[in-house]
Subunit: 403 residues, 2 copies
Amino acid sequence: MSAQPLVGLEVVECSTFVAGPSCGMTLAQLGADVVRVDLPGGGSDFGRWPLSATGESLYWTNLNKGKRSVAIDYRTPAGRELLTAFTTRTGDHRGVYVDNVVGRHRLRHDDLAALRSDMITVHVEGFADGRPAVDYTVNASIGIATMTGPDFLDTPVNHVLPAWDLLTGMHAAVGVLASLERRRTTGEGSAINVALYDVAVSAVGALGWFAEAEEAGADRPRHGNHVFGSFGTDFATSDGSRIMVVALTEGQWDALCDVTGTRDVFAALEKALDLDLRQESARYEVRETIASILRPWFIARDLTALRPLLDQARVLWAPYLSVVEAAASARASSDPVLHDVDQPGVGPMPTTVSPLRWAQTERKPALTPRLGADTGPVLAESLGLTDADLGRLAADGVIALTS
Amino acid sequence: MSAQPLVGLEVVECSTFVAGPSCGMTLAQLGADVVRVDLPGGGSDFGRWPLSATGESLYWTNLNKGKRSVAIDYRTPAGRELLTAFTTRTGDHRGVYVDNVVGRHRLRHDDLAALRSDMITVHVEGFADGRPAVDYTVNASIGIATMTGPDFLDTPVNHVLPAWDLLTGMHAAVGVLASLERRRTTGEGSAINVALYDVAVSAVGALGWFAEAEEAGADRPRHGNHVFGSFGTDFATSDGSRIMVVALTEGQWDALCDVTGTRDVFAALEKALDLDLRQESARYEVRETIASILRPWFIARDLTALRPLLDQARVLWAPYLSVVEAAASARASSDPVLHDVDQPGVGPMPTTVSPLRWAQTERKPALTPRLGADTGPVLAESLGLTDADLGRLAADGVIALTS
């Protein structure tokens, strides 16, 4: 077994909510030593829903797994001094600081760089000009909510997945690692800012949607659960389930026609409408017709009967699952990402490891520290503070040794 | 001005659709030299919608910006040999290969590692056991579609943003960069697999949703456009616009009460219901009541009147925009990610740069190569092929020099 790829790297994370913490979590899952810094008693996300039966935030717990927890009141001069000293201490694998600026800058790059010239900082923010924004407002700003949902709706549909937060966290992780690459090559540090809004603009741009809308001078109409530019939609089954069926490639389209016995119908349709349904754009154009021809076959069968038929025919499909069902399915999957742990403060809890599977490297599920559990050891180890120092700082409210 | 952080890094990308290409694009936007390898005439995503008026895929064009394009028929022995030689050539900043296995493996890690022991490969796949899956089927499998959309719906709502594809691309980029870090430290190569499904499981797990659903033994009910665990929802305005308004923090809640003149109403409500609305969980519990108290204030004003009122009061909000409006807004934003270029084959086109803003480093928009435009130069440069060699390979259909 090889060691995790980022063993040795030390990151200080002073962030809240999803983006910054998911950056730290991603690095921790690859072996980095990530010290999460919170205010004593926890920051604004420490009690965020969902909660466990024991009253712990399952959100905070799951975003901070595999990190160490240090509680410092960085709003006080003494707290800032401690955090600054800890963040800028010497070592090739140190000097990496990630925070978010929803409230305010925790530590500023220039202050850190004055003490350590090769400092790497990543600040996560809402807009590039410093105005606040969160996933829900960015999603409204970017045009996607008006494209989502059934075509009979005329109101926007918010996504539930905080996709912009999660993508921003991944960009922040890429920023950290690319900065390390640059530091090794040039000796230079890096000051990076990344705005949630910019992440959304970049993603929508990458899909060609801005180019499409501006060239057409109009928005793509809402089209419910249909896949744009190809064939894919949902079907009801006789037992009240729903499944998603997709035919992006010619092979997937053939499989779908074969299993549903609709080859002749579609051949006749192609002739009548002068279409070539082997082209995915043609399938998209007549998506409603294709769906209505296929619907009776699906609704006549239940999920148990459909499963082997569709799998054997190599149709690309999936049943819609609830989150409870999805958890069970994830647990049963090959080389699972979902594991069961006994999480202090929570009890038995499903948790997840990195989705990156490294040959010869084991992915072990990590527990989440209790808030402040590592304050003493981390400050003793890294800054040489004695028990007396720690006791005094705790008495002054500058640090908290446990939550 | 400093150089881009990944200048010098060379990556060979042999992938299609979104995940693999967005990994390569992310690295290219940070300065890496990414050679995208396609089949002569283009792979299965080369004609994917949306299309430009000139018939080019705006999707392919926008996902491949800043790369070089090489067309090799890697299905032929001669083509595989060329691609293998190119991918494994010596150099500290080389030996990085990204592909996707929706169809099949292009090149296998073991074959590459036999020629170059520190080879880094990242394979993007559907499920970890090799079964195919795409963003739309993964989204059905993970439980989110049944949570999305208005609460009067009883059918799943697909997201429009291919969030799993985009997140998988970012994980792949993290995998590449973490592998480089490990290669520098240990001299070892890396063989990484990353499945779309595993990315989704990991993300939903990180939010605590599996833990929540399993502890409750039930799914979170659909709640339309409300933000879970806090207060946030959409409001109609007198001009037919809709806006998203969020109050996650106590300050944002105060701002919302102040600007709408509802402080006394909510104080009375707190007393009547024995609630403390400074707690976000309390705001979530009575979200419908809060929304109905606020609704008349919003519907009595138009967007033009609301904008300064909400901004001055520091309410966290955003109007819902269409994609056309979102493009205009992105173009006008501070230090914009969206730029206008004259894209060969397309014409004037909005394009995007990396959302990571590096101090002292300029982000220049990059054009997309025409398919196969770099086949000749890249193979001549890297493998020493002569014009005669290239001509022969092109005549044999092993490579294409232009599209």
